[in-house]
């Protein structure tokens, strides 16, 4: 059976959404033709490599690149001295936020190195082997400092302090001394002390998790080309090329309009490809050398220096009555931010108990820096780490009172009208229905074999909207060009084509969806935050509706009737009723053909004098050999 004919999965009321149309990127991906980050090359291209710190924490006393620069084939070596420092300014980067002060330091160490693998210098050379030799010729003097890895250890008063600018936010009065605790957050409602007094059973447990890496199979890679006229161009594997453009332009001191970023196919990201690592280095190496520079991380570099999710140290305390009602829930989370502030502690604290309808909640969260790579988003950042601790404790309480874990969750499940500790009152939720369906499923009752287990866990996540832009053009033959600005990480081009097809009433295979570069359409936020299909899909549908309105007005012109008398159905303009007139329906292709024959009414030639051109000198006049007296 061909999948294109398989409409069994079709959702009621839709003609195309829910069908399994062929993926627009499918053929290229099974034949090896799809071009990912490391597959882009340019004539004259150099190879860039990064020198990384072997120490977890050290003062960067001096960097001598003279011997590396003297090696034949080496065209540029860059260090902290090639980038201006950045003021503290917090900006969004996916579900997380970053601070330019930290981004410039994470990209290339300045005063200190903060983790094993922290970039210290970068080299561009005519071959990888020469670049690799050049790295060994860079002389770096470090003053090694004591380091700390675990977030709970890092939060203790005697821990080595990473930054002198961190005075814990969210505590009153402001601490007098810097520490590794960047922020304290509190998400609370009701009175937990009173709640615990009503409990028949109280369970309190602590949990530790490690900073798990997203583990996308494609390492970070980019190609950058800077030309002497001050223009830059970058091809990179990313979840959001508009943010890469903003960060790179800022760090390299360019106007945003002078930088064009094209996203390549992306080999997985899971939140880990929102941030800049290589792009500003490659662009600066290109600026220094006057040649295109490609940089590709090894797997070792990916693991050592790009953001994993936070590791956490978590204490959870839950009280419940014997009949299964939770009376109070408390949690304390220490989240590892890595080298710079900004773990997903807010999200962890907000989501911790959001699955449940609770009166008394108190969650305290700490954002803690330590000598590890700066963390990045990772699939519902923060929520899964906190959920592990909360759900494990929920299970423990259920065991303690001898209640089935689904039954216990059902007795406390959030539902429409539940007010969360973080302030939102829920609309319809569906958790009760979901848990009931699980409880009634045969798999929940199937007998377990030796060494088999069965578990249940609930989780909560938000989804965001954020800026989205799509453009749609009707081609001369009536086929459709749909452009979105969010990288396709797992089939979003197919989804966009289906949604546009539905709105236009045409077969999806007449629509060519592409992911446009930063110069080809308006700003788009990242492919992140569970937003892309939802938010960009809306933009694609809106664009389709505008196109339909335009096509209707063209049909109205053709027929000589008011546009209100034209309706759109299944990809055709039709007269709205018998009174509108008797016309054969027009397809998009037929309308497009008519557009090609539009009469141009304005025939008067207009000339204008170029604004900044001076008067042509007699010499210039002689050179061009033409008389241009009218200028």
């Amino acid at each position: 059976m061909s999948m294109t004919e398989d409409t069994a999965a079709k959702t009621d009321g839709y003609k195309y959404i829910g069908t399994r149309a062929p993926r627009p990127d499918g053929f290229d991906k099974v034949t090896g033709r799809a071009r990912f980050g490391a597959d882009y090359t340019m004539p004259g291209m150099l190879h860039g490599l990064v020198l990384r710190s072997p120490h977890a924490h050290a003062v960067l006393k001096s960097i001598d690149v003279s011997k590396a620069l003297a090696l034949p084939g080496v065209k540029a070596v860059i260090t902290r001295d090639n980038f201006a420092d950045q003021e503290s300014e917090v900006v969004p980067a996916g579900e997380m936020q970053v601070n330019y002060r930290d981004v410039v330091r994470n990209m290339l160490a300045r005063e200190k190195v903060f983790y094993d693998g922290h970039p210290v210098a970068a080299v561009a050379a005519t071959s990888l082997s020469i670049a690799s030799k050049a790295l060994k010729l860079i002389e770096v003097e470090y003053e090694v400092l004591p380091h700390v890895i675990d977030p709970y250890d890092a939060a203790q008063p005697d821990a080595p302090v990473l930054h002198d600018f961190i005075f814990t936010e969210g505590v009153e009065p402001k601490p007098s001394k810097p520490s590794n605790i960047a922020k304290r957050v509190k998400v609370a409602s009701g009175d937990v002390e009173a709640g615990f007094k009503k409990a028949d059973v109280i369970v309190e447990k602590t949990y530790d998790t490690k900073p798990v890496h997203q583990g996308y199979i494609e390492p970070q890679a980019c190609l950058a080309n800077y030309t002497k006229d001050g223009q830059g161009e970058i091809w990179t594997t990313t979840q959001g090329h508009f943010l890469k453009r903003a960060f790179t332009a800022r760090l390299c001191g360019l106007d945003i309009s002078r930088l064009k970023v094209t996203p390549t196919e992306i080999g997985g990201g899971f939140g880990g490809k929102n941030n800049v690592y290589l792009e500003p280095l490659a662009l600066e190496l290109s600026r220094q050398s006057g040649r295109p520079v490609r940089m590709i991380m090894s797997r070792g570099e990916v693991i050592r220096a790009t953001g994993p999710t936070s590791g956490g140290h978590m204490r959870v305390k839950i009280g419940a009555t014997k009949d299964g009602k939770i009376t109070a829930a408390e949690a304390e989370h220490y989240f590892q931010a890595g080298a710079f502030p900004g773990s997903p502690i807010n999200q962890a604290s907000m989501t911790s108990f959001a699955c449940y309808d609770l009166e008394n909640v108190n969650v305290i969260g700490y954002d803690v820096v330590s000598n590890r790579p700066k963390v990045a988003a990772y699939r519902a950042p923060g929520a899964q780490v906190a959920a592990f601790s909360v759900e494990s404790t929920i299970d423990a309480v259920a065991r303690e009172i001898g209640m089935d874990p689904i039954e216990f969750r059902l007795k406390n499940a959030a539902k429409e009208g539940t007010k969360t500790a973080y302030g939102v009152t829920f609309g319809p939720v569906g958790l009760v229905e979901c848990l009931e369906a699980l409880r009634n499923h045969p798999n929940y009752k199937a007998k377990l074999g030796p060494n088999q287990g069965r578990g249940i866990s609930c989780g909560f996540w938000f989804n965001i909207g954020a800026d989205s832009c799509a453009t749609m053009n009707v081609n001369e033959d009536g086929s459709i060009a749909l452009m979105v600005g969010t990288p396709d990480i797992g089939g979003s081009r197919a989804s966009m084509a289906l949604m546009a097809a539905e709105a236009l009433g045409v077969n999806p295979d007449t629509i060519k969806p592409t992911v446009g570069d930063t110069s080809s359409l308006g700003f788009n936020f990242l492919t992140a935050g569970s937003r892309t299909t939802f938010a960009v899909g809306k933009a694609a549908v809106e664009a389709s509706r505008k196109v339909v309105e335009e096509l209707k007005s063209r049909a109205a012109q053709t027929w000589g009737i008011p546009v209100e008398a034209v309706e759109w159905e299944d990809g055709y303009a039709r007269p709205a009723g018998p009174n509108a007139g008797d016309f054969e329906p027009l397809s998009i292709a037929e309308i497009a053909k008519n557009v090609g024959d539009l009469t141009v009414f304005q025939r008067t030639p207009n000339y204008c004098k170029p604004l900044y051109n001076g008067k042509i000198t007699p010499e210039e006049q002689a050179e061009t050999g033409v008389t241009e007296d009218y200028i």
């Binding site: 499918g26 099974v30 034949t31 199979i217 899971f270």
Partner: protein, 158 residues
């Protein structure tokens, strides 16, 4: 050090190249010969994204030197389709949505083809065991295994 001259055959075509002694076959394929369908995921033989066959044997091209390709027959993802006609495995990967980002896909396809050439009627366990050397982060493997089983059935004429 002087470059080495290597004569080999890639996807049936006679190919000659120069490479540095330390260059891996993967680097040669990608950087010297522009066969970029073969991917690097780890460079240490753990992920299988760089899978190719050498004289019919499945290898990680990141673990073999380019110079070792002398006199050998190399098959890469670029040689799998017959012109624009997809190999049954390629078609089944599309039909079963056995790829999301698509980065590991060439390696899986080359490895699966090598399996079916040895064993046209593998059990699910055999498919899973054979593909254990290929890592996929998006799909969770089930759809890949089903696509391979389905392609095997089709190739057997079932």
């Amino acid at each position: 050090m002087a470059k080495l001259h290597v004569t080999t055959e890639i996807n049936g075509d006679p190919i000659e190249f120069l490479c540095e002694p330390e260059q891996t076959l993967l680097e040669v394929l990608r950087d010297e010969l522009q066969y970029t369908g073969t991917k690097e995921g780890c460079g240490t033989g753990d992920c299988g994204a760089c899978s190719v066959t050498v004289d019919g044997r499945l290898v990680c091209s990141c673990l073999m030197l380019g110079a070792e390709a002398e006199g050998k027959k190399i098959e890469t993802i670029e040689g799998m389709a017959n012109g624009e006609e997809l190999h049954p495995l390629q078609q089944k990967f599309l039909d079963h949505a056995a790829l999301q980002c698509g980065y590991c896909t060439p390696g899986f396809l080359v490895a699966a083809k090598a399996l079916l050439e040895k064993n046209p009627d593998p059990t699910e366990t055999e498919v899973r065991f054979w593909l254990a050397g290929n890592l996929c982060r998006c799909t969770g493997y089930d759809k890949i295994v089903r696509a391979v089983m389905d392609a095997a059935a089709e190739m057997r004429g079932n």
